[in-house]
Amino acid sequence: MARWGLVIDLDRCTGCQACVVACKHENNVPFSTPETARGGRLMTWLQLVAADLPGRPTASALPLMCQQCDRPPCTDVCPTSATYLNPEGIVAQIYPRCIGCRYCTNACPYAVKVFNWTAPDWPDAMAPMRNPDVSLRPKGVVETCTFCHHRLIAARERARAAGREIAPDDYVPACVATCPAEAMVFGDLSDPHSEVAALAGSPRAFRWMEELGTQPKVIYLREGE
């Protein structure tokens, strides 16, 4: 069984935010307005946060999405099992089960679970650009990054239809696919020959807030020498 993981090399990352836009469009995340943003209700599954990292003169821009923890605090508190750790290590969110109690948004130390305070809304002209592979989340449920799980399902189906095993390039999330600085590497951590597994063993590797014991599968590579 694969264990999907993502490595972000902060030394390569330029903070250009192409990943942020790619994620937004890929996953039908609704747009905000200045008012919603000021009220802290910006809908985004992935955004840059300023993080003070050791050895850096100024705060670094850290691309932060669901860390896909191996010990996710959010799933422990979910009363309906709407969010759970799937066998491949992806922290999934089943929207019809979600009752919107927001225990998970409070339990998540990374604050990457976002609550739909309003029904998703696109101007009529923009409705056709929504991705039919991803559902529209109704008002009152919590949503979060799934490593573009729909891409995995589609990739697996394509590979099986072609009569072969899924190859590493078949499945990459939208953020990784567009990263112009090639700072993001995605793959199977359980495969010792994968690039992610090699990079995860780098002396520069660290996990965000790893002292909390959440065991994320998003691994950052430190900036600097």
Binding site: D9, G15, C16, V21, L42, T58
Partner: protein, 748 residues
């Protein structure tokens, strides 16, 4: 009860029951039909992909459009495009929002009321063309009767645009785009090579950058980002070190291993200071320089005399030890590269290329090459033309906007209504409800990028000849027009030499002619993988050319399918050859020591100069506007295309957690004096205006300066663009020379 059940009641209730059943059945069927009709969120349809070219900047990155049942849903990079290699930046990703922009202009229209509520009358394209042609015909006879402004670009479609307006006797000007082409003239002054510089960032090991926005949108955004990633952590060399000398803590300064704050003027002094240390400490390869020396001796004498570390330190505030260290680091790196921003003033570009020459970066891997052969750009500046119009120095009968790019420059007039007042008639070809539409009398919206035939020369970044060519990826969504077809219809309506200049009927013809030219050139290949491209390079350098196609039609189809054509063969010795031909390097010779400027004490506005002259000695009271304000445009702002893209506004003010906001960067100590907390709302006041922003503390910013983000857009723009504001250009009024602007900042 049964006594009371009359025959009449029985019939009544029986009938009611039957009516109820009938009604219920009807309702049931209506509900079922409505249910079946209800537009359920569709299950996945048929996925197809189409190729196009990103037009959000001059980079010309290849794009693949993901279509579900023929409808575009997502943009991805084209892996075969040598500029982007399958990647896209934030602007490129967001470009699909331009196609779907709910506020896009739906078709040609004429303004029917200028003052008060704007009112528009829709026109058919025939009416519109007749009307516009009539206006243009009247203006042709007058010198500078027609002024035409558009973003600068290269390629056959841009050439057609130029040809058309030249024939119409128009005065053409272009908004300069921040590409390598702008640095070409400076490289030519030093080396004699006519062409664009190519910076080999990927293979450099040490980069000293003078304000180059390397991680933002330097020269060709996506290409630079990839090169930066490989420069930092590439295989085969140690981690690249980046030193950024910048007036503010830009995103590049944040990423750099070291950031030195210096204004553009100070950067020039610093560059010569580093050069002087290199020469004094004998850290240049004189044996290599000698054959190409030119006026090297005179340069060495003057620079080492005037730009002593002490002089430079007192002029820039950068400590002597730092200047010495920078020079030594630069000289000891295996492949050093000195980089500069495309819109740097001539003095800075000259100083930077001088340093590149001294460290032996010319024609060296990880250094600077020249790409000759591209059209030399000698083009009037559209922003200047616009200022002339606003000031009444230029009064065209017809002003034509190809897009809104000149109105987005920091130097553009803040009050756009003055522009309309000095023209008889303003025509906008922009497809969006943006700044040019706001002042136009007449809208002739053209197709957006993914609806268009394209043939453009991407901004120079890759050391190769490229043409990005594609057919429309999707049918047009609204009643917009193909730009070349629009010109041709106008030409036919105007007649004479203008009609004769149009040797095309539509963009398809122009693109087709370009493809035929490429096919006949018998070199290069349609966009291909890196491996195949390298193979073609090998063959071509050996004098072989293997045709990639059996017939011209097959070649044309392949180029259109993959999105462009590349000739990867590149002569890496063009600078050396030019230097031999032109008698060596022509260094700029400094004639005087750097002026020691005490920034804080210099009076900031002419008003205060007058004040200082009257009252001598200066009173103890602090100046009214103690801070120097630099404005900057964030990299996510679209220079020429659509502003109205909500996903991009959400990126503003990040990673500081201030999406959608204008922010002003302040030194923490300066902020503390005013009791301004990080993230506090502040009011910035100048002699002309005051605007609101949010404060961000930046350690290392000179205490007397502030840096303010600028996002164009106004109250009549699209629904999202009008929410970000206000226009910070009000702060310095109509005089761009008063930048950096003197301001005071206080909590609001």
């Amino acid at each position: 009860m049964s006594d009371n059940l009359t025959r009449r009641d029985f019939l009544l209730y029986g009938g009611a029951t039957i009516a109820g059943v009938t009604l219920g059945e009807l309702g049931r069927r209506t509900l079922a039909a409505a249910d079946a009709r209800a537009a359920a969120w569709p299950s996945r349809g048929v996925e197809t992909w189409a190729t196009t070219v990103c037009r959000e900047c001059a980079g010309g990155c290849g794009v693949r459009v993901r279509l579900m049942d023929g409808v575009p849903v997502k943009l991805e990079g084209n892996p075969l495009c040598p500029v982007a290699r399958g990647k896209l930046c934030a602007k490129g990703q967001a470009a699909i929002e331009s196609y779907y922009d709910p506020d896009r202009l739906v078709g040609p229209a004429r303004r029917t009321a200028r003052s008060g509520q704007p009112a528009w009358t829709r026109l058919t394209s025939t009416e519109a063309i007749a009307l516009a042609a009539e206006r243009l015909r009247q203006a042709i006879a007058t010198p500078a009767g027609i002024v035409v402004l558009a973003a600068d670009e290269r390629g056959p479609l841009a050439d057609a645009w130029t040809r058309f307006w030249r024939a119409a006797n128009a005065r053409l000007a272009w908004t300069p785009m921040p590409t390598a082409a702008r640095l070409g003239p400076r490289l030519e002054v030093l080396t004699g090579a006519q062409g664009d510089p190519v910076f080999d960032l990927e293979r450099a090991t040490y980069v000293l950058s003078f304000g180059a926005p390397i991680v933002e949108d330097w020269l060709s955004g996506v290409w630079t980002q990839r090169s930066f990633g490989r420069f930092r952590r590439g295989s085969g060399h140690a981690r690249g070190r980046l030193v950024q000398i910048d007036s503010r803590r830009s995103a590049t300064a944040r990423k750099a291993d070291e950031w030195l704050a210096a204004t553009v003027e100070q950067q020039v002094i610093l560059a010569y200071g580093v050069a002087s240390v290199l020469l004094r400490e004998n850290r240049v390869d004189r044996a290599k320089l000698e054959p190409l020396a030119g006026n090297f001796d005179a340069f060495e004498r003057q620079v080492t005399t005037y730009y002593t570390p002490d002089n430079v330190a007192s002029a820039t505030g950068v400590p002597v030890v730092t200047i010495l260290r920078l020079a030594r680091e630069l000289a000891s790196a295996s492949r050093p590269l000195v980089a500069v921003n495309a819109d740097a003033p001539a003095a800075l570009a000259d100083a930077v290329f001088t340093l590149d020459a001294l460290v032996g970066a010319f024609d060296r891997p990880g250094g600077v090459f020249a790409k000759t052969g591209d059209p030399v750009l000698d083009r009037a500046d559209a922003v200047e033309a616009l200022r002339d119009v606003a000031a009444g120095r230029l009064r065209p009968k017809v002003l034509v906007f190809g897009d809104s790019s000149p109105l987005r420059a920091l130097d553009a007039p803040a009050d756009a209504s003055a522009i309309a007042a000095n023209c008889d008639f303003v025509i906008s070809l922009s497809p969006y409800l943006d700044e040019s539409a706001a002042i136009a009398d007449f809208l002739l919206p053209v197709d957006v990028a993914i609806e268009s035939w394209q043939a453009m020369l991407p901004a120079t970044a890759v050391a190769a000849d490229l043409v990005a060519v594609t057919r429309p990826a999707v049918p047009r969504r609204l009643e917009t027009q193909d730009r070349a077809a629009l010109l041709q219809s106008l030409g036919t309506a105007i007649g004479g030499s203008v009609e004769a200049a149009c040797d095309w009927r539509s963009s398809e013809d122009v693109v087709g002619a370009e493809l035929k030219r490429l096919a006949r050139a018998a070199r290069g290949t349609p966009y291909a993988t890196t491996y195949e491209t390298n193979w073609v390079r090998q063959l071509e350098s050996g004098g072989w050319w293997a045709s990639p196609a059996d017939s011209e039609q097959e070649f044309v189809d392949r180029v259109l399918t993959v999105g462009g054509w590349i000739d990867p063969w590149f002569d890496p010795n063009q600078l050396t050859e030019a230097l031999h031909a032109h008698g060596g390097l022509a260094f700029p010779i400094p004639e005087s020591p750097p002026a020691v400027r005490d920034v804080a004490a210099s009076p900031a506005t002419s008003e205060e100069v007058a004040l200082a002259a009257d009252v001598v000695p200066a009173p103890v009271e602090p100046p009214r506007f103690p801070l120097k304000l630099f404005a900057f445009t964030p990299a996510t702002v679209n220079p020429a295309g659509n502003l109205n893209q909500p996903a991009l506004f959400e990126l503003l003010g990040q990673p500081e957690g201030k999406p959608w906001r204008l922010w002003v960067e302040l030194n923490p100590e300066t902020a503390a004096q005013q009791d301004i907390a990080n993230g506090a709302a502040v009011r910035i006041t100048s002699a002309h205006a005051s605007i609101d922003a949010v404060a961000v503390h930046v350690t290392g910013l000179p205490p007397e300066t502030a840096a303010l983000s600028f996002v164009p857009g106004g109250p009549t723009d699209g629904r999202w663009a009008r929410l970000v504001g206000p226009d910070v250009r009000q702060l310095w009024g109509e005089d761009p020379a008063s930048r950096p602007c003197a301001v005071r900042i206080a909590r609001s």
